[in-house]
């Protein structure tokens, strides 16, 4: 009898010790799932995390840089560079803010006359910014060779903004068109043609100037 009681006591003690050791270990653990479930612990962890519609990543913004040629009426053509940020409102419409910079060359008069300069060096800097609304047209796939198809679309675009040229700000309307070629679903190559129209009295009388710009760029959706 006594030995049975002794064995029972021993068993109880060993079981208690076992559990206390376990509970001691559990202090080290991140959560309080039973230790015995250690094998499949990753799986329940995954399933517990509920993913809702709000977790779907939206990629409606597009940011990019461009470089090209811009012709300033009467002042020749020069390299233009800049950046833009677009927000795609629907599959058809997008709004875009852009900023660009170029430099004016000499007018024919300045070249022919030899010395006379109409503008100083710093006045020849032209910086524009604008906000425009674009509309995607002719969407489709463009094929390169036999095995590669890429999404592409033309767009028409128009907007308003400011052109800072020859120490003067000019209210500017821009109209144009462009081509967006998607390398992947989030990287796009773009070609853009734009006419920046503003009034200028730089050469003596008021006139509306057309300043044409052709650029190529790359942009990223995020």
């Amino acid at each position: 009898m006594e030995s049975r009681l002794g064995i029972f006591l021993l068993k109880s003690i060993s079981v208690l010790t076992f559990f206390s050791v376990l509970s001691g270990c559990s202090l080290l653990r991140v959560d309080d799932a039973p230790y015995e479930d250690s094998e499949p612990v990753i799986k329940p962890e995954l399933e517990r995390r509920t993913i809702t519609e709000a977790d779907i990543d939206s990629e409606d913004f597009e940011a990019g840089v461009f470089v090209g040629v811009m012709s300033i009426e009467d002042f020749g053509s020069n390299v233009v560079y800049g950046g833009r940020l677009a927000y795609h409102i629907t599959e058809d419409f997008f709004t875009e803010a852009a900023i660009g910079r170029t430099k004016a060359d000499k007018t024919s008069f300045e070249d022919l006359s030899g010395g006379a300069e109409i503008l100083s060096d710093s006045q020849r800097e032209l910086t524009y910014y604008n906000i425009s609304l674009g509309y995607n047209i002719l969407p489709g796939e463009a094929f390169i060779g036999k095995g590669h198809a890429y999404n592409s679309a033309l767009y028409v675009i128009a907007g308003i903004g400011n052109t800072d040229f020859a120490d003067d700000n000019h209210f500017t309307v821009n109209v144009g068109a462009g081509y967006r070629f998607l390398l992947t679903d989030w990287i796009a190559l773009r070609a853009d043609f734009r006419d920046h129209i503003f009034d200028s009295d730089l050469l003596g009388k008021d006139k509306t100037t057309h300043n044409l710009e052709a650029t190529a760029g790359i942009s990223f959706f995020f």
């Binding site: 990753i42 519609e53 990629e59 969407p139």
Partner: protein, 245 residues
């Protein structure tokens, strides 16, 4: 045992972060089929159809299009209307936020561009507004004025009251204040740059176009509190396009 414990703890720490990158919202096709387009637009061709009962992962969204991946690994774009015919993992109809007229009267954020006339000069305004209630919104706006003799920049905060938010053509009233920075054209006028306070009252209307678009037009009467003796009053008319989100 020790090594096992360390490995186990490490696993515990890493598991949620390490695997969450591969997790996407899942839905099940409940119509006869779901069409996948090559791009996010109705003009891009359909290149694949997913059968009823198949589970798809929703990778991302662009405007009203969703990029999904099938169990077989095909990736393509499905339109919102089609995605709403799918079932969620809980077996309910999937619903995605759509912008419509109802959202117009309940909109929170609005941003837009307006152009017009500022006492004879051209003006261009960019603004963002937040609706605190359907009737009241706060608006932050920046304007650039292109005058013959001077250019100006105006930064202002406006409080806008819209008494009938549920109307499609909805009038509003505004009061606001801010600063105007005037930069005279030095070659023409011998004056210094100046910064003055400006206050305004206005009346205008928003017209809900479609989806997320609003047309907006307004008249404002500004008072510039000048350092000189008299305050200057200015009439401003402008119209523009805005969208809400």
């Amino acid at each position: 045992m020790y090594l096992f414990l360390v490995a186990f703890i490490l696993l515990q720490c890493l598991a949620p972060g390490a695997f969450s990158a591969e997790q996407y919202y899942k839905v099940m096709v409940d119509e006869a089929y779901l069409e996948l387009h090559t791009g996010p637009g109705r003009g891009y061709p359909v290149f694949y159809v997913v059968d009823r009962g198949m589970e798809i992962e929703v990778i991302k969204r662009r405007t009203d299009w969703f990029m999904v991946r099938t169990e077989k690994g095909k990736e393509g774009w499905a339109k919102r209307a089609d995605m709403e015919l799918t079932l969620t993992p809980a077996g309910e109809k999937t619903l995605f936020a759509e912008a419509g007229f109802g959202d117009f009267s309940r909109r929170r954020w609005e941003a837009g561009v307006m152009a017009g006339d500022f006492e004879g000069a051209d003006v261009m305004t960019v603004y963002a507004a937040y609706a605190m209630t359907p009737n009241f919104s706060a608006e932050l706006s920046v304007s650039q004025v292109f005058g013959d003799f001077s250019d100006a920049y105006i930064g202002s905060i406006n409080l806008i009251s819209q008494p009938f938010p549920e109307w499609r053509l909805s009038p509003y009233f505004s009061v606001g204040g801010g600063v105007i920075y005037t930069d005279p054209k030095v070659t023409l006028v011998d004056e210094n740059d100046r910064t003055e306070q400006i206050g305004s009252v206005g009346i205008g209307a928003r017209w809900y176009l479609t989806r997320r678009f609003i047309l907006r037009a307004e008249y404002k009467n500004h008072v510039i509190f000048q350092d000189k003796d008299d305050n200057q009053e200015i009439d401003e008319w402008k119209a523009g396009l805005a969208f809400f989100f």
